[in-house]
Point group: C2
Amino acid sequence: MMNDRILGVLGGMGPLASAEFMRSLTLQTPALRDQDHIPAILVSDGRVPDRTAARQGLGPDPLPALIRGIRILEAAGCGAIVIPCNTAHGWYGGMAAATALPILHIVDAAAADLRAQGIEGGRIGLMGTAATLAMRLYEDHLPGYEVIRPDAAEQAELVTPGIELVKAADEAGAYTPLAEMAARLHARGARAVVLGCTEIPLGIAAGPPLPFLVVDTVAALARAAIAWSRA
Amino acid sequence: MMNDRILGVLGGMGPLASAEFMRSLTLQTPALRDQDHIPAILVSDGRVPDRTAARQGLGPDPLPALIRGIRILEAAGCGAIVIPCNTAHGWYGGMAAATALPILHIVDAAAADLRAQGIEGGRIGLMGTAATLAMRLYEDHLPGYEVIRPDAAEQAELVTPGIELVKAADEAGAYTPLAEMAARLHARGARAVVLGCTEIPLGIAAGPPLPFLVVDTVAALARAAIAWSRA
């Protein structure tokens, strides 16, 4: 039994992505019965101030709310933290400084997934929130890759509305704009497209599979958590 | 904003049902953005001793582990508790005696769903674990209904294997035996079939919809939680 360490999940950003993270964690853990699974505590608190608005100077700082969630996970005895929200990793430094627990970085998980798919470098596509793009979360953590991204019009017309549709529980409606944007990045030479906002894989899962490689950052983060649990 | 009360979810029994509860809670909450959702803390700890084995005298008492989970939810500031596992409600009295927080009973949620579907009495079918059936969890909480159930051979050949397949992450494989059993209860005159184990709706969702009324106890419990949040 390797499941004596409790995983802390700082979630609610959004809540549907957190539920999908828990599902992905469960389905990817080799298990025949309940007792084989990784014990986990999920704090799903959508009241964390909007990360994109904060980064654009249009809303309050989410860091205090993020740290309140971390305190709950610490008190519950968790041994590590994952955050199924790419944009929240813009506050990674502040969170890491506030806790002794390791926080498994979602971009590291995405990079591991790229390598596992045989993509060690070259051009990749990135889809994410406007804030994730503005903060250069991926570019600054993925040396050796050329990261291409939607232009401003595509971000406003395809990616942001797709993310918002998932947050409003319309996964089926989100498929068309998100799949269209992924296809454009693939057509521009991306060897894989990183679905770098945890809402995006939910929209993409609501329609036909994309005929090229993608990185599902929800599933990739779940695999990083499983690796931590077994280490 | 009506979301200042935190919902506590005592889960992990099994973990996939807990993830589905979080998804159902999110999808059924009227919301356009993260901040509209009900704050929730999920303790997903599959290490809780097997409830069916305990009731059959074949394993340790799960009550101490259940109460440890409740203590985490209390410490995190939760205002009520839900438990997305029917069988665990066999220890409802012991849990309720151990906490001042209200625990929303899953059989009450199922009864509300029967009424919402227009079924105020008469014959209904019940599928659940052998322990749920042996404890008469539903019969003793559903006055006015005639509850019919699988016979012992059907329980052993269809229901128990179906539940175990979901716990082993084979939702598609679980569909055939579970759907067959539900159809038999319907054919015996059940006006609706209560999917009275939280794994069962996951198996049923993996195939074609059943052509008769069912009560999905995961979705029903989520609706009870939403009603609590708004009360």
